[in-house]
């Protein structure tokens, strides 16, 4: 397994990129630690797949260097980089048995058959397909096929990193839970360096120690799930993570007070920077609906079982609140913001507050 250094990497699909907008991937300068689990999260076209392809060697960056354990691999081909990858749609060798599928990468590298057998059996146990070894891979279910794809990577002891390109796309919801937890267990036990590309926040957040949120070709924030949830650096992160996303209200800030329409909201501190367009961000989880606070009118309640999502109108803007399964919504609902959940943004970027 390897540490991966992305050294001032940029990429453009154009021959002579001039402007910032010519780059499909804007400058990335970051290190993926050895044994870490990382997710690249963002909407389609945000550059996450471009970045993954640069790591796997399917794409050579137009600027910058890529290092595995300090060695420059920028110019190396996919084979020479020793990585494994699981694709969106299962890639299996139809005509081979499950066993032969796993043995394939080893046999291609001339590993002695005795070692092949030992490694393949180990891997079959790891991915829970030991009973299926002799079966033809063709007739298996989508989740089993994805496990085989993964197994072909795990079987090699020298892989530098395992890359995932939206691997759960074709998997049924129930199986997603099983595969996700198995993947995480494998990571815990064997300490692989893993990079996982997805547009699905649940997959990214549950899988990764560090989530890289990307938007429009650039990285907006890198952080733990908790950081991304509590302190989104950019309003995009607030919107993109969380379901529903963060409420963002245009405000005018004076000292410790944010004015939203006719309302004055007390901030937990005074923002260090004001001016430009100021916004207040608060996640629906921190909007409390009860008998105290500001009166609102409720436009819609979505009961999703474990909680309810309440859509209300506040000063003409829609605001979402999450209410517990057993909590009642009062006849004349009032809402208040929990101070711990308040973030302030200047020109979409988060500003610190002084108490």
């Amino acid at each position: 397994m390897a540490r991966i250094d992305l050294d001032h990497i940029r990429h453009s699909y154009l021959p002579n990129p001039q402007k910032e907008t010519d780059f499909a991937l804007k400058e990335v300068h970051h290190t993926f630690q050895d044994g870490g689990a990382y997710a690249l999260l963002g909407p389609s076209g945000c550059g996450k797949t471009t970045l993954l392809n640069i790591i796997s060697g399917l794409l050579h960056p137009s600027h910058g260097k890529l290092l595995f354990n300090g060695h420059d691999v920028t110019k190396l081909s996919t084979q020479e980089r020793n990585i494994a990858q699981v694709f969106q749609f299962p890639v299996i060798y139809d005509t081979m048995t499950v066993y032969d599928n796993l043995a394939f990468p080893l046999r291609n590298r001339g590993v002695p058959e005795g070692d092949v057998d030992r490694k393949v059996r180990e891997t079959l146990d790891m991915i829970g397909l030991a009973d299926w070894a002799k079966r033809k891979a063709r007739g298996l279910t989508a989740d089993q096929k994805q496990k085989i794809s993964l197994g072909r990577g795990l079987v090699r002891s020298d892989v530098n990193a395992i890359l995932f390109d939206e691997p759960l796309t074709v998997i049924d919801p129930h199986m997603k839970w099983v595969l996700r937890s198995q993947l995480k267990q494998l990571h815990r036990r064997f300490g692989y360096t893993m990079v996982y590309v997805t547009h699905d926040q649940t997959e990214a957040l549950t899988f990764a120690d560090q989530v890289v949120v990307m938007y429009d070709g650039g990285i907006v924030q890198i952080g733990t799930p908790a950081e991304l949830f509590e302190r989104p650096k950019h309003t995009f992160v607030g919107y993109f993570i969380g379901s529903p996303g963060m409420n963002v209200l245009p405000v005018e800030v004076e000292g410790k007070t944010a004015k939203f329409g006719s309302l004055a909201i007390v901030l937990p501190g005074a923002p260090e920077k004001t001016g430009g367009s100021m916004e207040l961000g608060i996640r629906p989880e921190y909007v409390r609906l009860g008998r105290v606070g500001i009166g609102v009118s409720i436009s819609k309640v979505e009961d999703v079982g474990r909680h309810k999502v309440v859509r209300a109108k506040l000063e003409g803007r829609e605001i979402a609140a999450i209410v517990g399964e057993d909590e009642e919504i009062p006849a004349e609902p009032k809402l208040r913001f929990e101070p711990a959940g308040i973030n302030v943004y200047a020109d979409s970027w988060r500003v610190e507050m002084r108490a």
Partner: protein, 359 residues
């Protein structure tokens, strides 16, 4: 009103649809919920008239339409793939069913603009589908289905190929769009969460059978049987097999749960007790809650919630907690089951007694 009476579809040796009876009302949204290959698409094809049932009959507004082909049924369909005419503009795409019907220019223009407005497509009317995002392409397909003014609109996992966030946005708008159109909507999905957000009615499907049909939240809260409960649970339903003895459910290892008052009378036997992941907790929620010792397998944290995967005897459970709960793997923890929220199923999988709900 669309009525399916004892409809079955057999192809070769495989039964795709097994004795389904359903009644769908005008102006209703009906979700078909089930995993891949449970029969959602087969059922939609029968409803549309693309396939003829092997047995049973299909009625529309009191008329038997069993053999009537799709061209004569005034049906609209939206698929998982974004299907539009690539050479036409969004405007022409939406207008196409009206042109086929021979509507006059002013009517076409009015209805296209209305639908475009409803689906937020007005700024893109002059573009071709190639220059649209996936979400906009699917909105175009939806607009075309709506403008057709069909009496039955079938949507087969229409959001499956969209990004998570786009899916969330469109999903929030769909119920409003459906409510305004006033026709029968049928919506197939594999995701329980999606069914809950859409509301309306839900039919749960498993192996070609409709296991339950009713108001979405009621099917979710009061499943008639174990298969329905399992189909309609995400994260997966937690289950445990217990032996009833008088007023207690017992399991080896000293676990005992009080039998809910209304079913203490049922026979002493083996029962499967199911409960949702958010009804398992680390803190004691109330006095009746029963402690159980389980081993932590893995914890998944989303920032707002934590999913703790637990091993209890042979079962794998998921506990859903608010906030961040970082438990170490292989650690033994005490968790609480809230008996107010348990569902009890007998050996054949039927729910026993009325399901208990708080509030």
């Amino acid at each position: 009103m669309l009525e399916l009476r004892n409809v079955s579809k057999v192809v070769g040796a495989a039964t795709h649809i097994d004795d389904v009876s359903l009644t769908l009302q005008h102006g209703s949204l009906n979700v078909l919920l089930g995993p891949t290959l449970s029969g959602k698409t087969s059922l939609m094809r029968l409803m549309a008239g693309l396939d003829r049932p092997t047995s049973g009959s299909i009625w529309f507004d009191g008329k038997d339409v069993t053999g009537v082909p799709v061209q004569k049924r005034n049906v609209a369909m939206v698929y998982q793939q974004f299907i539009n005419y690539p050479a036409m503009t969004v405007y022409e795409n939406i207008a196409s069913p009206l042109r086929v019907a021979g509507a006059d220019k002013t009517k076409i223009d009015r209805e296209v603009r209305q639908a475009a407005d409803l689906l937020k497509l007005t700024p893109y009317l002059e573009r071709t589908p190639l220059h649209l995002s996936g979400g906009q392409q699917q909105r175009t397909a939806l607009a075309r289905a709506i403008v057709k003014n069909a009496s039955l609109v079938l949507l087969d996992e229409p959001l499956a190929n969209l990004d998570y966030k786009l899916r969330e946005e469109l999903r929030a708008e769909l119920p409003r769009i459906f409510a305004e159109a006033g026709t029968i909507f049928v919506y197939a999905t594999t995701e329980p969460h999606e069914a809950l957000l859409l509301g309306g009615n839900t039919a749960t499907l498993s192996e070609g059978k409709v296991t339950q049909f009713g108001r979405t939240i009621e099917v979710f809260r009061k499943p008639n049987d174990l298969i329905t409960a399992r189909t309609f649970a995400d994260p997966p339903l937690n289950t445990i097999v217990l032996r009833k003895s008088g007023a207690k459910f017992l399991l080896d290892g000293g676990v005992s749960l009080p039998v809910p008052a209304d079913i203490t009378g049922v026979a002493d036997a083996s029962y499967t007790v199911g409960f949702q992941p958010h009804h398992l907790s680390l803190e004691r929620p109330n006095d009746q809650a029963v402690p159980v010792r389980a081993k932590v397998s893995i914890t998944e944290i989303t920032g707002s919630e934590s999913f703790v995967h637990l091993d209890f005897a042979d079962a794998r459970w998921v506990m859903l907690s608010h906030g961040i709960l970082d438990l170490t793997a292989d650690e033994e923890v005490e968790v609480f089951i809230d008996p107010r929220h348990i569902m009890v199923f007998d050996a054949s999988g039927r729910a026993v007694g009325a399901p208990r709900l708080a509030a």
